[in-house]
Amino acid sequence: MNTLDVGDLPPYDISSQSPLWWGQLCTAIIEGMMFAILIAAYLYVRLRMDVWPPPGDQYPHLLLPTLSLIALLISAPFSYLASEAAKRNDRAGMIRNLVLNLVFAAICFTLRILEWRSLNFNWQADAQGSYVWAFLGLHSFDFIADAIFTLVLLILILIGRYGEKQRLGVHVDSVIWYFLVAVWIPIYIVIYWGPHIFGSQ
């Protein structure tokens, strides 16, 4: 009975080969599928109504959301740099990039809250109100959840209580961050530019 010795293989691996990376990919597929169906439903409802946005709803502003999107886009490279630093086990690099990532995330989120408060319709008002609040609510829920996940990782690294599993966590967390940024672009176009593009002027 001959043997295949794997003793010399590394006991961990921070790359897309690790099962955790594939698990996050599945999470991204699940969330992506959800937002895709919501966008399709939003367009379906738009096609059934003659007046869009429904009477009484304001035309969406564009300045604040665009700035918020830009802040979100800037935060993505820092998440990439953090995961590269995690591969090199470079603690200072990880801390710097995670902090910058969270800072730009905070900027994006505050701008979004400001825009959110300026809407003149709530979720009960009409179909568009329900959908806009659903998009904002669901994306913000994922956004906060992932920001807290990144914050906890940052704290762990700061107090030095981290090992290769936590470095893998930083690498894998960037997958979800890329997804959050990528999925916000179509949502942003649909709920902010939508009424201008396919609205009924």
């Binding site: 043997t3 010795d5 590394p10 979720w123 290769e164 599993k165």
Partner: protein, 634 residues
């Protein structure tokens, strides 16, 4: 027991190996320990047992419905109670029995068949089970507090909307779906990661057992279809509790939008329940006709094709809503296309049986019963694909007969075959064969006695979901016959339970491979240890236990003092790195409780989402907080 079994289970040279392995993979003791198991056999068995209990509960509800329909104008059940029971019957069978049972069998068997020690994310596995149990408790808390769902298992709006369905009835349905699909998506994600990344070295893509292929296809369908039902049930829930206008007909929320979103999930759902059964049948046919499957690539491709086409034909549930002619013609074609992939698989099985030496065990009986019933159900499905016929038989008892033929014939018969086939592996004892064959015939005859007359009732105009009918309609005799058939099925269920409990104690002791089958799970001991294999096997061919080799290779070098598994590359499974699995912990249960508080509470007051999220956040932090120094390698 051929050379491979001996190689895998003989004690290692340094006897400390097995003892250390058994120590590091031991189950924690005590009550808290019981709640923190995370080995795939324990969690898989919990899914299977809970799902089987809900099969019996669903069966009792079916019997109640049949007693009500046995006679015209019978007063056995009031219309309100009947609506509750048929909705709960459908919901229980679809969400609390079928999907979790197939997931449970997948969790139990896939790691064994791939030659690894556990699923990729053991704690997520435990969390998934607690969420499923939470869903069961939540629904049946509703049932016993007079707020069971009463708008059918797919709750069409506006009947299920806030104005026409009062109280918290449909809410309990909506939230139960949120529970069960979180659990299904957990299992889907971890099975994908396990099958892609943790196969035995040498098990390239074309050497994966067919059952693992079916679980892979099912998992991809779960993670792509379940979000649709999450949206559909959330549409109703948020409309009912917070007054949003997602499905308010007056505000643009077209009832057809709800139907599109629901059936986009609905049809893949029935394939999610059916495709694992294809894996069961393939495994049983290969093992009991002692012949390699005929047309392995054809089988895999047709399973994958079924997975894709299933997403393209949901509108055949909505032919009666007056959609444009072109759309109906396209969906007729798509619905007919899916019959080709099932046809290919049936032909490949028959070819395998044709040139194999068949051992007519009980499992094989169930396979023959499956072919007989599923082919009939599939052909009535082809009839339903055509628009003019569907307009005549949609929402009648013809459709009820069709989907019971395809689900019970297509999924439950292979499932019982799988129980008889893998019972020796799960418990170490054989099930009684003569009693098993009687059990098969009682189920087969009872099934046909119940559901074949429903075809005729459907053609005679008996619509679906009616709590009673008048005597002059001429439906009385056939309904009475169907009720007698239902009692025979119940007898079949009791016979299975008798065989199950009798064999657990007094069944013939089964070795590692009683059926002399081919796949790796038969190399592990029965019932398998927590770590499955003392040394992980190396797969050198598609049928590891049937390929005679002089010196069988095993993997050495994994550390025994902690839970280590081997991660291999995706395409041809070359060892890539070792992966330390987390040990058992109570945090998944606490996280599940946090999520359940959030979900169950949000039915009554939206602020519970906030409290639930905070609780879950804290539980997750506790879950991932690095504790043992061993995890913090340099």
């Amino acid at each position: 027991m051929n050379r491979m079994d001996k190689a895998l289970t003989q004690p290692d040279v340094e006897t400390g190996g097995v003892a250390a392995l058994r120590h590091s993979w031991r189950h924690p003791g005590g009550i808290i320990g019981w709640f923190s198991y995370d080995t795939h056999q324990a969690i898989g068995m919990r899914y299977i047992v809970t799902a089987f209990i809900f099969l019996l509960v669903g069966g009792i509800e079916a019997l109640l419905m049949r007693f009500q329909l046995a006679h015209p104008n019978s007063g056995f059940l009031s219309p309100d109670r009947y609506n509750e029971i048929f909705s709960t019957h459908g919901t229980t069978m679809m969400f609390l029995f079928a999907v979790p049972m197939m997931e449970g069998m997948g969790i139990y068997l896939v790691p064994l068949m791939l030659g690894t020690r556990n699923v990729a994310f053991p704690r997520l596995n435990a969390f998934g089970y607690w969420m499923y149990l939470g869903g069961c408790i939540f629904l049946y808390w509703g049932v016993f507090s007079n707020s069971a769902p009463d708008a059918g298992w797919f709750s069409y709006v506006p009947l299920a909307g806030p104005q026409f369905d009062f109280g918290k009835r449909v809410d309990s349905w909506c939230q139960m779906i949120t529970f069960t699909e979180v659990s299904a998506m957990c299992v889907g994600a971890e099975l994908i990661a396990t099958i892609f990344k943790m196969r035995a070295p040498g098990m390239s893509l074309n050497r994966i057992p067919l059952f693992c292929w079916s679980m892979l296809v099912q998992s991809f369908m779960v993670i792509s279809a379940m979000p649709a039902v999450m949206i559909a049930s959330s549409y109703i829930l948020v409309d009912r509790t917070s007054g949003t206008n997602f499905v308010n007909p007056a505000e643009g929320g077209d009832p057809l939008l709800y139907q599109h979103v629901f059936w986009f999930f609905g049809h893949p759902e029935v394939y999610i329940m059916f495709i694992p059964a294809l894996g069961f049948v393939s495994a049983i046919v290969v093992a009991h006709s002692r012949r390699q499957i005929f047309g392995y690539p054809a089988m895999v491709l047709s399973m994958v094709a079924t997975g894709f086409i299933a997403f393209g034909l949901w509108v055949h549930h909505m032919f009666a809503t007056g959609l444009p002619q072109i759309a109906q013609a396209y969906f007729t074609a798509a619905s007919l296309m899916i019959a080709i992939t099932s046809g290919v698989q049936i032909f490949c099985w028959i070819a395998t049986l044709w040139t194999g030496r068949i051992r007519m065990s009980t499992a094989m009986h169930f396979v023959f019963g499956f072919i007989a019933i599923f082919v009939l159900g599939g052909l009535t499905g082809v009839m339903l694909a055509s628009v003019p016929l569907d307009l005549q038989v949609h929402d009648t008892f013809f459709v009820v007969a069709h989907f019971h033929y395809v689900i019970i014939g297509g999924s439950v018969f292979p499932l019982f075959g799988a129980f008889y086939h893998w019972f020796p592996k799960m418990t170490g004892r054989m099930m009684n064969e003569p009693l098993g064959k009687i059990n098969f015939w009682v189920l087969f005859i009872g099934f046909n006695l119940t559901f074949f007359p429903m075809h005729i009732l459907g053609l005679k105009g008996m619509t679906r979901r009616i709590y009673t009918y008048s005597p002059e309609m001429g439906w009385g005799t056939l309904n009475l016959l169907a009720t007698w058939g239902a009692c025979v099925i119940a007898l079949g269920g009791v016979l299975f339970l008798v065989n199950f409990f009798w064999s657990r104690k007094a069944g013939k002791v089964a070795g590692n491979n009683p059926w002399d089958a081919d796949s790796l799970e038969w190399a592990a001991s029965s019932p398998p240890e927590n770590y499955n294999f003392e040394h992980l096997p190396v797969a050198t061919s598609r049928y590891p236990l049937w390929t005679p080799q002089e010196d069988f290779t095993v993997v050495t070098g994994l550390r025994n003092d902690r839970r280590e598994v081997l991660v291999t590359t995706l395409m041809d499974a070359k060892p890539h790195h070792r992966y330390v699995l987390p040990g058992p912990s109570i945090w998944p249960l606490l996280a599940a409780i946090g999520v359940s508080v959030g979900f169950a509470g949000s039915v009554f007051n939206n602020w519970y989402i906030v409290w639930g999220s905070i609780l879950t956040g804290l539980a997750l932090i506790g879950w991932f907080w690095p504790r043992r120094p061993v995890e913090m390698l340099p």
